[in-house]
Symmetry: C2
Subunit: 478 residues, 2 copies
């Protein structure tokens, strides 16, 4: 496991200075009060900190970083603390200072003609979605943690989710950023422009840098028309290769009206049926794979319904899908989506689960899953792969539930070995070992294996020039 680089624990004077910047009432120093900021929600990481600071303005963030940079104090930026790779949790040394952006909750601007909103880092994703909706627009980013995660964290990790297929990930939804650099200077890049070719793309360097190059304090986000008609479908598929062929057909027929395309394995559906209330088998017979997909239109036109009907018929005739259903009501659509949304959670009832967040070219998803399943059976006979996720993006959450009856700890002891072997397949297929969750602390040691040395060298060069003292989220990502 990686260690915190050798920065100084903050002296009492430094801590006093930092606390004065935000004011006593917005600084947390009592260990019990700090606990929620130091624990990862699945309890995978437990850190310590010298203090948790909650600045109330960009100026305060700037003053904190200026002081931290001068005193060589390590800073861990934190949003909603929903990250899945430990990037937001300090190490165990207790010498780091957590900076929570939770008080930066101002919506600075909403511009309907330009289809943008300017929000601060601490705005919760769901609140941002609601601001857009109240204005008659859609902010399409949507993920499991949307009720807690904050825009700053979403951008720092380039979050993805279920709407990437049609709208792109956090990067694609961002036009401008305000960022505080390691030395406290503020980059004022809150442009509301679709087109701006005046030099290097600094914005996209900060997005996805996991708080290691600067602290994002505000962003200009893109808005879209609200879909007024949505049609949700589910299809049963016998062979994975048919699923990718059907995806190609659906994308060709619907283009940007295809707003989601997810895959679920039977075993995962069974876990949900078994452990969750108010669920039912989606089709009259079971199928090894299910496709859950959605068509949307900004106009009440019947077009999504017409596309869905034609496509299901064509897909069945072509032998790509074996059976299918179109949700006939919002509540039926909700039921279908619950099968997908509960998949990860319901796995918990089946014991330990070893997880992977990977992507491969869409065409290679069937090969990836087939090879990974073979490998799992070889390494841990009886273990139950539950590969599900964003088939349309080539992004599979390759989760593996323990064999029935095996001791959970014994199973979980295979975590790193299985990860390594699955990632080997991913890299062989020219995929990514972290499709949407990032690197953080969890995958930092895997990065040199997954990236070419030259890319790592360029990343280190950038890190060294943006944060020469290494105070920003040290020991994460790079």
């Amino acid at each position: 496991m990686s260690e915190t680089p050798k920065l100084s624990p903050p002296s009492p004077d430094t801590l006093d200075t930092l606390v004065r910047i935000v004011g006593e009432s917005h600084a947390v120093r009592d260990p019990a009060d700090m606990a929620p900021y130091l624990t990862e929600w699945r309890d995978r990481y437990q850190g310590k900190a010298a203090a948790v600071l909650k600045p109330g303005s960009t100026d305060e963030v700037s003053a904190i970083l200026k002081c931290a940079n001068e005193t060589l104090t390590a800073i861990v930026p934190q949003g909603g603390n929903t990250g899945l790779v430990g990037g937001q949790i300090p190490f165990e040394s207790g010498s780091e200072v957590v900076v929570s952006l939770e008080r930066l909750t101002h919506v600075r601007d909403i511009d309907l003609a330009s289809n943008t909103m300017t929000v601060e880092a601490g705005v919760v994703l769901q609140a941002a979605q609601q601001v857009a909706e109240s204005a008659g627009r859609l902010f399409p980013l949507s993920l499991a943690s949307e009720g807690s995660c904050q825009i700053g964290g979403v951008l720092a990790t380039n979050a993805g989710g279920v709407a990437v297929l049609a709208y792109g990930n956090a990067r694609d939804l961002t036009l401008g950023l305000e960022v505080v650099l390691a030395d406290g200077r503020v980059l004022h890049g809150l442009k509301r422009l679709r087109k701006d070719n005046t030099g290097y793309d600094l914005k996209d360097l900060f997005i996805g840098s996991e708080g290691t190059l600067g602290i994002i304090t505000a962003a200009v986000l893109r808005l879209f028309p609200r879909p007024v008609e949505r049609v949700t479908c589910i299809a049963g598929v016998n062979e994975l290769e048919r699923a990718t062929a059907f995806f190609a057909r659906a994308y060709e027929a619907a283009g940007p009206m295809l707003t989601a395309f997810e895959i679920l394995p039977r075993v995962g559906v069974e876990f949900v049926l078994k452990h969750a209330d108010r669920t039912r088998d989606p089709l009259s017979a079971p199928y090894p794979w299910y496709l859950l997909f959605e068509f949307s239109s900004p106009r009440e036109s019947g077009e999504p319904q017409a596309i869905a009907e034609a496509l299901l018929q064509d897909g069945i005739e072509a032998g790509e899908i074996a059976d299918a259903a179109i949700a006939s009501s919002l509540s039926q659509a909700g039921e279908l989506w619950r099968l997908r949304e509960l998949m990860s959670e319901m796995q918990k009832h089946e014991g330990g689960s070893i997880k992977h967040d990977v992507s491969v070219p869409v065409a290679l998803v069937p090969e990836f899953i087939a090879r990974a399943n073979q490998l799992v059976e070889l390494m841990i006979p009886g273990a139950r792969p539950v590969p599900f996720g964003h088939l349309g993006d080539g992004n599979i959450h390759y989760n593996v539930s323990q064999p029935v009856g095996m001791d959970k700890a014994v199973f979980l002891a295979n975590w790193e070995a299985l990860n390594a072997a699955v990632h080997e397949i991913v890299l062989d297929l020219d995929g990514s070992i972290s499709a949407e969750h990032g690197i953080g602390r969890m995958k930092r040691d895997l990065l040199p294996h997954a990236k070419e040395p030259l890319a790592l060298e360029l990343m280190r060069t950038i890190k060294a020039s943006f944060d020469p003292n290494g105070i920003l989220n040290p020991g994460k990502l790079l």
Copy 2:
């Protein structure tokens, strides 16, 4: 005007080494033969070079840069030589070496399930469009120079064009890059992935860097379903504010089916009607402004037509548009598009034209044009502003034709003063002084005025670490 930094003119030995890398038959040293590579197509820039090299592979590009880096030889990468800001033309010293990517024309891969194609830098944009079309897909990037410009140049300048509204600019259409760095090392980043959160976004640093950070040799580009139904409309508008209101209405109604939204001023339409064959007034009466817009659908459904009809009626009822027509055939649609496509060219017949490629938030386009027109009348009474372009992106080509009867040279002497004054308005409205053409040589001296010092400092830091000897396109952009 900026000067070439002090690099060495290549010695005869160095030149011999460079020529040997590509072979005599792919090196041009005769001044007459070099001329097409040294002249900007509108004759705004005339450069000199020690040689023009045409490598036939990434390895040869790598060997060239390794040698150039060791001998401090300045390199000017060049694609189709269609750039509008002189980025592709060497300076007058004659000590630079032009590297033309024109021989890298291989289509390395086309992957229909993943909706990607992997093409080399020298592939002409139109050829790339045709490769996609032959495979039943759309590569949506579309610009005036598509018959000559090459993918490498398109990416190096983050080209835009008429399809940005629905599909994004070159950056948004690129998933992966192969890049040769200044020292000759090759970054192998040809990933076909929609999602890959494994570290800093190096790809987007190279895109739009105008050949100053590395030479792009190949790219993975996104493909889309082919629109099978397209409906083109034109509307007459009396006031600019109504045009942006109507854009908001159209975007809300059609969402991603709104695939173009352009604005044309009456004076520009008149220039085209006067100087181009086979053109006619698009509506029965003249209007101060015209909106040219298009709806597309990947399915033969009548939906684009239905959207267009409903929208035009709503727009007329709301008083946003005064009159409108839907093209009833492909040839009528082509006629409408010719009005837009010939606008810049036909201006030539009206004498000198001073140009700007700017963007502002869409909501502020009317204010921008009003203020700029006032300014023009004040500075050059009788000069005729012809602001046209991509209203849906806030990107206006603010061209100004000379007053009737004025001496062309006398008018053009106002170029820099008018640019400065127009850019002042753009910056006041939080816009960009180069929306899609880039900085190159033309706007390099304007950059310090347009960007905040901290952004420039970060850009210089990146340049210094990626190209410490400054051999890549020196004196351009930064």
